[in-house]
């Protein structure tokens, strides 16, 4: 399983905080997005609306970064704290 989590505007617009995906067929962050789009076609618009940041296990990553079972993959917009 891969734990996918969303933050801020994304979490609100998708109406979901986290989702667990079977790792089968998923090798990269990009594969996660494709899987999500297949299950929820409407998410494609939300997730590609602005710059999309991704972290794997609390470290910043890229769409091409590899993922494996047990990973926590987070999607969020650019940060605005401080």
């Amino acid at each position: 399983m891969i734990n996918v989590v969303f933050f801020a505007k994304l979490r609100e617009s998708l109406g979901i905080e986290s989702i667990q995906l079977d790792v089968k067929g998923i090798n990269t962050v990009e594969d996660i997005l494709q899987t999500l789009y297949r299950h929820h076609p409407s998410w494609k618009g939300e997730l590609s609306q602005g710059p999309l940041l991704v972290a794997i296990n609390h470290d910043m990553a890229r769409l091409t970064s590899p993922v494996k079972a047990g990973d926590e993959v987070a999607f969020f917009p650019p940060v605005t704290g401080g």
Partner: protein, 148 residues
């Protein structure tokens, strides 16, 4: 010392901790407050979301980088999350060093990196509704200055 917390912080307490070391000759502090006006809209409150664990890890990493770049005695970094009212304190960065140059540089560096790298997101409550803030080009440019 790094903290992410709901409750407010006490400037004086944090300052006295930094000033208590005999070798400290310079202390620079930064405090960010909830401003009344932003983007020409009247703000009534601010909501701050973070990514538990990743945010703390990111802040530790930023402070670590500052300590590697400059000779510092102590660094305190506190960032609040949750809902904050007008004029409330959001963030505190305090740096002590022997000489002022290092304390100024490290304090500003930490804020510039926090603004562009630490997972915090702000939603403003204004008179005309709620609005997630967009990232700011000025902040990206500020952080770039430190690359070498």
């Amino acid at each position: 010392m790094i903290r992410v917390q709901n409750q407010d912080f006490d400037i004086n307490h944090e300052y006295q901790l930094l000033a208590s070391k005999a070798e400290a000759g310079a202390i620079v502090t930064f405090v960010g407050l909830v401003r009344e006006m932003n983007l020409a809209k009247k703000v009534t409150a601010l909501h701050l979301e973070h990514y538990p664990n990743m945010t703390e890890k990111s802040l530790r990493n930023i402070v670590q980088q500052a300590k590697q770049r400059w000779e510092l005695i102590d660094v305190t970094l506190i960032h609040r999350v949750g809902t904050l009212g007008l004029n409330q304190q959001i963030v505190f960065v305090g740096v002590s060093s022997q000489h002022r140059r290092e304390a100024f540089a490290a304090c500003e560096f930490i804020m510039d990196y926090l603004k562009t790298q630490a997972p915090f997101w702000k939603k403003e409550h204004t008179e005309s509704g709620e609005l997630w803030l967009d990232a700011n080009d000025k902040d990206t440019a500020a952080a770039k200055r430190w690359q070498r």
